[in-house]
Amino acid sequence: MFKDVEHLIRLAAVMAIALVAFVVLRAAIVPHSFGQYGHYRGAAIAEIAARPIGFAGHDACEGCHSDVVDQKKQGKHVVVACEACHGALAKHADDPGSVTPAKLDTAVICARCHEADSAKPKWFPQVLTADHSGGLACDTCHQPHSPKIETQKIETKTKAEGKQ
């Protein structure tokens, strides 16, 4: 039928070996989860999700610091999460004994939000810190967790404490 048919058989054998090598190599190289959800490595999703958190979230804070939560409820800062000022403290939430947050400098922290800027919405309380406090730390007058200065409240509070 064909002349020199062994040439064709040899060529077919080489192609078969190449095909097997390709299939084996591909199975070895392509990660197991590639294509699980789409044209990417499915296991990458779990790897990205496995990263440890830095911010504990305000629910974690409220578990222990209920006194501060009550204090915040009396003022406008009730909507501000603890870590907005105090920074990322998941490590503190995991191990409150050894990791303690640093004391904040209110002259810097408060100005970040409350320094006057014409781009800030008009409803937001703003001051020019230089004119307003002359460089004094904000917590000289304001209690940061409930910042409104209510003289009447303070007076009644001191009176009540005096009676006890």
Binding site: S33, F34, Q36, Y37, G38, H39, Y40, R41, G42, A43, A44, I45, A46, E47, I48, A49, A50, R51, P52, I53, G54, F55, G57, H58, V79, V80, A81, E83, A84, G87, A88, A111, R112, C113, E115, A116, D117, S118, A119, K120, P121, F124, L128
Partner: protein
């Protein structure tokens, strides 16, 4: 152990059942988190943004973002009169340290920016190796063990939300704090936003307040003409915002 024909007949169906669990992958194993039950996005309420930069600092802290690069940033717009096409935009250090005092006339406002986690994302389409993708729960992620660092995706993003991490030489971007939202927490930027200008939204959760908000407010996405299916919704956005 010698496997007889009888043993093999028992083992094969057992292996077939077991294999299904091997294939199932790990994210679905995370307690109470099912990829198919979420479709993440974000709401940015521009009239509430005070440009404090808390989100930018929190993002950098939470995600080890290298100095001088930003996964989220805040822009301050200054628009005079009718010059909507020529806004002056400033974002010193991404707004990380706040903004220098600005007591001027005209229209001024802040716009926080981040990855829009597009449903039809141009950045994932150009990746030659399948290193970046839209996850089944609607978050555009980068597989940094697969990324070649070719920068195609950085060029493709119409919003400038990607950069090449100078340490790893791989593409990096906002993950919508994927490691947090899969654990039931909100993103770092939303956690620290003092006015609630940024809110994480789960568009597949019928109880999420986002649905009521989208129904009752004038909402826009960035560059809608690009048809990227952006899922970061901006409330009260001025026409000058690019």
């Amino acid at each position: 152990m010698e496997i007889t024909r009888r043993h093999l007949l028992v083992l094969l169906p057992a292996a077939a059942v077991g294999w299904k669990f091997v294939l199932a992958g790990t994210p679905e194993d995370a307690p109470n988190y099912k990829l198919s039950e979420h479709w993440w996005g974000m709401l940015i309420d521009i009239p509430k943004c005070i440009g404090c930069g808390s989100c930018v600092r929190a993002c950098a802290q939470e995600n080890d973002v290298p100095e001088g690069y930003y996964r989220t940033w805040v822009e301050r717009y200054h628009v005079t009169d009718y010059q909507l096409e020529r806004p002056q935009v400033a974002s010193p250090d991404g707004g990380k340290q706040g903004f220098p005092p600005n007591e001027i006339g005209g229209k001024n406002f802040f716009v926080p920016k981040l990855c829009n986690h597009c449903a039809d994302s141009p950045c994932t389409q150009v990746c030659p190796v399948g290193a970046t993708f839209l996850s089944p729960d609607g978050v555009v992620l980068v597989d940094k063990t697969y990324c070649l660092g070719c920068r195609y995706c950085i060029q493709a993003c119409p919003y400038g939300c990607r950069f090449l991490n100078p340490k790893t030489n791989t593409a990096e971007k906002c993950t919508l704090c994927y490691h947090r939202i899969t654990k039931g927490l909100t993103t770092a930027c939303c956690e620290v936003c003092p006015t609630g200008a940024r809110q994480l939204a789960d568009l597949k959760n019928p109880k999420d307040p986002i649905h009521e908000f989208l129904r009752t407010h004038t909402v826009q996405v960035l560059k809608p003409q690009m048809a990227t299916g952006a899922k970061v919704f901006y409330d009260g956005m001025d026409g000058s915002v690019r």
